[in-house]
Symmetry: C2
Subunit: 178 residues, 2 copies
Amino acid sequence: MAVTAVGRGRSEALPPVDRDHRWLDDDERAAWMSLLRIVSRLPPLLDSQLERSSGLNFFEYTILAMLSEEPDGTLRMSRLASVTNASPSKLSHAARQLEARGYLVREPDPDDGRCIRALLTGAGRDQVIQAAPGHVAAVRGLVLDALDPDQLRALREANELILMRVDPEGATDPEGTR
Amino acid sequence: MAVTAVGRGRSEALPPVDRDHRWLDDDERAAWMSLLRIVSRLPPLLDSQLERSSGLNFFEYTILAMLSEEPDGTLRMSRLASVTNASPSKLSHAARQLEARGYLVREPDPDDGRCIRALLTGAGRDQVIQAAPGHVAAVRGLVLDALDPDQLRALREANELILMRVDPEGATDPEGTR
């Protein structure tokens, strides 16, 4: 019985469970621990591979990659925050850094001047093109190649059920049409 | 075809695939996106629930919880970094903050004075006891209750296969006996 959700249940340090606060059983704890370890350990590896190869962290890479996938290389900042899973303030900070390095510019949206959009520059596009192969290889090597197609499908199914609670707006919009 | 691993494959912005750099197919992309969304969106929710209820972020809570599970409320810093999935420098920074708030002390390990250990204080233990029920409820509400036992088992299996690549030392030591 893992009384603190992260503990290993060795002691009786915490008060006994009540009906409203059931602790975790062994299977629940093991699943939760596996998810926590992924959440903690994977992002630093993605960061370090990208930083070594291209001087970008994973979030910066994601911003440039998402822009590069648009036919005109641009997205409104609000939309860019959504597709990069970031808060507006986190995106703002990173966009400022990327702008200073010449990889994107921010400007009023010609279709609605009240909105700001980010526009990939030529240098930004070159940077994504240079970084993408190594990043994709890391994603394969760390994650995708570990699983067979059934396991990959099961992982996606479980994650999407969790995301209906963790990110309900995004979960109803798998195609990113927001 | 998602040419940048995170993109939605709308354009032909990137060079064609070669044999060494296969891009992601639709199933791979969807699974990878689901994992990235979990990794990005879950930690802020755990942080904000704990910060509202107890003024701790999730990492700080984890440190105190792991110490509270030890019979004597203490772990060496090296071991504590491992069980909290943190780098030594990240742990050091957080431990300093927790020490300043009176929740733990750091001291030479009596068994080996070259090692530093962290020791939970009474105030630290009270803080975990107060925070744990709400945190466990959040873990259930956001993650565990979303899945039936088969789905939970499948998630754990997939995560553990990934962790053999992402965190191979930890993966061979599920009981935390390092």
